[in-house]
């Protein structure tokens, strides 16, 4: 009975809507699809979406590795507080994130009044989108790397030290390789989340085609013009990109699990 209910629920909420999306897309000919999903303006929006997401995901990977390292290895005052603050971007509604970031980096904002005279423009520019996406994705890498770092045995590092490796060599040659799967999973999760993000970006973007106009915005614009098929074409491109990410993540998780069970 529970299985039946689960299947019916998933069918109604996930499968039928997805079928509707693909049916709509398949009602277009290839030429129409390209005309809707691959014009200059749409390509520019993909470029803004994907390049901003990529830079934000790279930034989050570096920051996440550092935060995970510091939170696992070092002791400092209020460590527990900082540890739990990492999760805030998950709990904070994206609209609030967008609103507050647009206020912080505006010309009279807390950060903007110092940064703008230095020529750093972090409001209504692509940098603003990257910044807010970095905020949204901050917890992913930290939370994937942290447990792996905690589970590493001390003796590996001791062995490396005994064999004459410097601390840096131990880190890059011994520790980092065992963190790669977790880092890539975290990166992929951040990237996938950033591609689809809309709520926070709409507050900090000036919506200039080719500069700050993102692909999800185009979907909404087409919908407001009642051009359902055109909106669907753009959506399909985004969907395929995020499904590809999901497949990568699943494959990695399976490999890590296999490696773990082999080690035990």
């Amino acid at each position: 009975m529970s299985l039946g209910f689960t299947l019916v629920y998933l069918c109604l909420l996930v499968v039928i809507p997805l079928i509707a999306l693909f049916t709509k897309a398949s009602s277009l000919t290839l030429q129409q699809f390209i005309a809707a999903a691959w014009t200059e303006r749409v390509r520019a929006a993909y470029f803004v979406t994907f390049s901003s997401s990529l830079i934000a995901a790279i930034a989050d990977t570096i920051l996440g590795l550092m935060l995970a390292w510091v939170l696992v290895r070092y002791d400092f005052p209020f460590k527990r507080l900082f540890d739990s603050l990492v999760d805030l971007p998950f709990a904070l509604p994206t609209a609030v994130a967008g609103l507050v970031y647009s206020s912080l980096y505006a010309h009279n904002g807390w950060m903007g009044q110092f940064l703008l005279p230095l020529g750093i423009k972090l409001a209504y520019s692509q940098s603003a989108i990257i910044l807010v996406l970095t905020f949204i994705g901050l917890p992913f890498v930290v939370r994937t790397v942290q447990p792996v770092l905690e589970s590493l045995d001390a003796d590996v590092e001791e062995a490396a030290a005994c064999l004459g490796a410097s601390r840096w060599q131990t880190f890059t040659r011994v520790l980092l390789p065992s963190l790669y799967p977790a880092l890539i999973t975290g990166f992929a999760l951040t990237f996938a989340r950033a591609i689809g993000e809309y709520g926070s970006v709409v507050f900090v973007s000036s919506n200039v085609p080719g500069k700050t106009q993102i692909a999800p915005f185009l979907i909404i614009q087409r919908l407001e013009e009642f051009k359902y098929a055109e909106a669907t074409a753009v959506a399909i491109v985004l969907l395929i990109a995020s499904f590809a990410m999901l497949i990568v993540i699943n494959a990695l998780e399976r490999r890590t699990q296999a490696a773990n069970s082999a080690a035990n």
Partner: protein, 305 residues
């Protein structure tokens, strides 16, 4: 810990390795990294929270209260959120328990496909999620004409908002429960049945008490996300002021309002959502200890068996 010789107590190994500092970094590395981390979290996380409350209360508490309660449209947005979110959370709790039960208690072909399907809403952009429901229920959508004939309004009304919110938050409860139920195993449930309990008694007296902290954890995360959902709701709600706006949508409308009054009202609504997320974090930390203790206990009973 296969590498530690059996005759050696674990505690001495641990303390020896700490003392010898094979895992310790030079002090300047430590301090640079700690300062950088604190700086990053302060600028990215603490500063924004402070900023929300600063702007919300910048004209005093009275103005803040007036911003929230003096505006009929804002009050309606709060009511709509408080009406729609429980629907989505309840639906996903029932689904989450059923799905976790099916996946952990039965072996059947396609179990991995089922778990992937549960994760799908995480991989779909909220805007695309909203679009899918527009394609189904919109005026030019697949069921649109039929719905119009029967005078049923789904799009641009609360049913669509409830539907997309349920979709976006679908994985939360199930994902929390699957590992918990997997770890606890079914021995106690089988024992209950063999002692003469019926299925319903077993479920309420054995299963639910076992999974209650994990369940609550899932509910908390699901609730936070449901209250804050923007993109998907934005697409389907039609944004009729005072009718179909939820709290996050109201924040956006007020932000676009352009005057300094609407600007501070927008921060007032945002401050409510921020408080919600802070409360969520606190409950989450408290529950994390409980669920981890549960999992450890389950692991220990398994080992002693």
């Amino acid at each position: 810990m296969h590498s530690i010789p059996k005759h050696m107590p674990t505690s001495t190994v641990v303390s020896a390795s700490r003392g010898r500092s094979a895992q310790e970094d030079p002090w300047w590395v430590r301090w640079t990294l700690i300062s950088l981390s604190v700086l990053v979290l302060s600028v990215l996380v603490i500063l924004p929270i402070a900023n929300v409350f600063y702007h919300a209360f910048s004209n005093g508490v009275a103005a803040y209260w007036n911003n929230l309660t003096g505006d009929r449209e804002t009050l309606h947005a709060i009511q709509l959120t408080l009406f729609v979110v429980p629907i989505a959370v309840c639906a996903n709790v029932i689904f989450g328990v059923a799905a976790a039960w099916a996946i952990t208690r039965f072996r059947f072909p396609g179990r991995t496909i089922l778990t992937t399907m549960i994760d799908l809403p995480f991989a779909i952009s909220p805007v695309v999620a909203g679009l899918m429901f527009v394609l189904l229920f919109g005026a030019k959508g697949y069921f649109g004409p039929w719905l119009q004939q029967h005078n049923i309004q789904i799009l641009n009304a609360w049913p669509a908002i409830a539907l997309v919110t349920t979709f976006v938050t679908l994985p939360f409860v199930a994902r929390e429960l699957i590992p918990v139920m997997e770890a606890i195993g079914s021995e106690e449930e089988i024992a209950a049945i063999s002692l003469g309990a019926n299925g319903w008694q077993m479920f309420w007296r054995v299963t639910i008490p076992n999974i209650k902290w994990g369940l609550l954890y899932g509910v908390i995360l699901c609730n936070a996300r449901a209250m804050g959902e923007f993109g998907a709701v934005y697409v389907v709600c039609g944004r009729v002021i005072g009718k179909t706006e939820t709290m996050p949508i109201r924040v956006n409308t007020l932000f676009e309002g352009g005057t300094s009054e609407t600007y501070s009202s927008s921060f007032a609504v945002a401050s409510l959502l921020t408080m919600l997320s802070l409360v969520t974090l606190f409950i989450k930390i408290a529950l994390e200890h409980k669920t981890q203790a549960d999992l450890k206990e389950a692991a220990q009973t398994h080992q002693t068996e």
